[in-house]
């Protein structure tokens, strides 16, 4: 299902884009609904789509110790699958853990859009960088084990 540029423009991912660039992004994006349990991609998969969560929850898991461990859950307005922007294979498995409405953007088309207009490319990469940086800070906080020793 196509996504109206106005809906897209409300998401953080598009906050650095001009209306024209937002429209161009909307052209390559699709809105899709997933039931709980749907797997968007698996750890080790080849690069594919980049997702933005409109509603619902996606949980990232990694294989560890013979099972899958949930490492992060993502919700409204968050980015899923950023590693495809770097042509990398998937670093985690993304499973819909609460019925979700997502924006799916094929990574190849998105990268093409970036290459075509480096200003748009910069805006998209800067936003992705912000998201990944926030997640890095969060991961550090998780590593600090805040509630473990004291609290």
């Amino acid at each position: 299902m196509p996504i109206p540029p106005t809906v897209l423009a409300e998401l953080s991912f598009a906050k650095r884009l001009s209306p024209d660039a937002c429209a161009a992004l909307a052209e390559i994006a699709e809105m899709e609904t997933f039931p709980a349990g749907a797997v968007l991609f698996r750890e080790g998969d080849l690069p594919g789509g980049v997702y933005l969560v409109l509603d619902g929850r996606v949980t990232l898991t990694m294989r560890a110790g013979g099972g899958e461990s949930a490492v992060l859950s993502l919700g409204t307005d968050e980015l899923v699958g950023w590693s495809s922007l770097l042509h990398r294979t998937r670093v985690a498995t993304a499973t819909v853990s609460r019925a979700a409405q997502l924006v799916r953007i094929p990574a190849s088309a998105l990268l093409e859009l970036c290459e075509r207009d480096p200003r748009v490319g910069y805006a998209i990469m800067a936003q992705a960088f912000e998201d990944v940086s926030d997640r890095l800070v969060d991961t550090r906080m998780q590593l600090l084990d805040l509630y473990g020793r004291r609290g």
């Binding site: 906080m141 004291r150 609290g151």
Partner: protein, 647 residues
Amino acid sequence: MRRIDRSQLEQLCHLAQRDGRTLIGPTVRDGAIALAPITTAADLPVGWTDVQAPGRYRLSRTQGQRAFDFVVGPNSAKEQFFKPREPLYRAERRADGRVGFVAIVPEPEKRALLGVRACDLAAIAVQDAVFVEGAMRDPRYASRRADTLVIAVHCTRAGSLCFCASMGTGPKVNSGADLALAEREHDLLIEALTPAGEALLAQLSSEEASGEDLRWLDESVESARASMGRHVDTRAVHERLFAQLEHPRWKEVADRCLSCGNCTSVCPTCFCSTTEDRSDLDGSTAERDRLWESCFSREHSELHGHAVRGSTEQRYRQWLTHKLGAWVSQFGASGCVGCGRCIAWCPAGIDLTEELAALSTSDARALMPVAAPCAEEGRDEAMVPSPARVLSVTRESSDVVTLALAIDEPRPFAPGQFYQLSIPGIGEAPISVSGRDGAGVEHTIRAVGSLTRALCELSPGSELGVRGPYGRGWPMRELAGAPVVVVAGGIGLAPLREALRQMLADPQQYPDVRLFYGARTPEDLLYAREMLGWTDRRGFQLSITVDRSSPTWRGNVGVVTRLLKRSTVPDAARAILCGPEVMMRFTIQALARLGVTHDRIWLTMERHMKCATGHCGRCQFGPYFVCKDGPVFRYDEVASLFGRDGI
């Protein structure tokens, strides 16, 4: 003003000891002029003077016969009222088999202090403000202080380390004494400042002072004022100091500072103390002592087993910014009276006036809170627990339990306040109240140290001691009518639970409450069943996340700030937070992005409250005592210091 002959000093000493009064006066001991019980004028340091320099004190013989021809020795009135070590209470088994706590408070004592200088009179006033003029009155200090006759001496000579003129405390005695003396070679001028002083003076053989005598006194005091060995610039010093928290001088002075605590021990105003729990080998009796502590010791800033102020640099900064800065916010007067003792008795010879000058290179000023006088009459707070009994124990997680306590003679509490829970012979710890269960006051406790472990092992019927409630709780009135965002991390949900319960019970006042709660693992989530019950309430939203997932966990994984980031917050929302400091710091940033300004955020400060009455100095945080000004603060009150290292 009268004049007495030198020989009348003996009579004065005699009169000062009537009615069983102990006379404390200057006397030579071990190479210095000490303050000790004396009985006769012959005990006074007649013909002695002191020569002082940084890290150096010497007695020297004079050719004269004056008894007060020195400035100050290492002792001050402080140790007369605030004892270096004293017992607070004894725990014992009562006749009915229950544990009882017996306060140990000295009988009122009659004292006369002879030879007190103007700087030390100011210091007594400063300590009075700490111990007896606040909302909580220390009965031990009060008992010793109540009946004290003070015979002061005007300083007609300034020492090389004196700077009372800068601090506005001397050299002339203006108040705070019953009698004021000014000594000359053959006679003394004497003036009664109170009726008690007048009564005493009437029994001395004296004559009216002449105009020449009065001129001599004025000139001598003025000459002392003009010849102070040290000087400090006190203009807005508290605001200037707090603007220099990152000044390189702190590091520099720390290279010379021994962190030995001598300065704080000889300081006539330093009031910090700690406690020690003692018990005998067979466990039949237990006592708690209070003893002088220094902000230069590691233990003074201990929190959860490590020192908040781990370095000498941070400790020196704490001392100086408190003494000359925070004190003004706390008590409306400087904690420094300009006596110079800390300079003389510092083995390294660190000179406070020199450090202050070096730190005053800039005119930058920090905004400091203004001391608010205590509104109500103080109440005696003897720091003695009331007996309490465990009604029920609820295991919340592997290392957290909730105790419901029946307290003898309970006082009402507000959400966010805390109690001091103690087990005789083991210790005492501040624990926030987490709710009320029928007649029981609930505390949710995590086993981390020896005391909390012992508390977590109690069973229904166990006895313990409880003091409280203390402190400022959550701002329930300011929260009413506005959407409320509650952010909790780990055991930080406990101090918020009663606030949540009250808000959910009153949807008219609190129509929109949103709880964001992060825990370590799903197993560590507190009050899980109770929270599920809340989700039915209209106007309540619950978001929970865990740092580490478990195989059966289907909820959110990630830090609690991520939950906040993906939500929107209504205009005018207020937020209350409790959790580890790092979590609260990031939460405040996330809230700011959502438009919640600093003046609409409240949080609880983590500091180790030891006395809970504002007397021990242990929980100081910049200009505040967390135990009485907090533990709940509006964020803009603490924003400039929150999360800073070593505060």
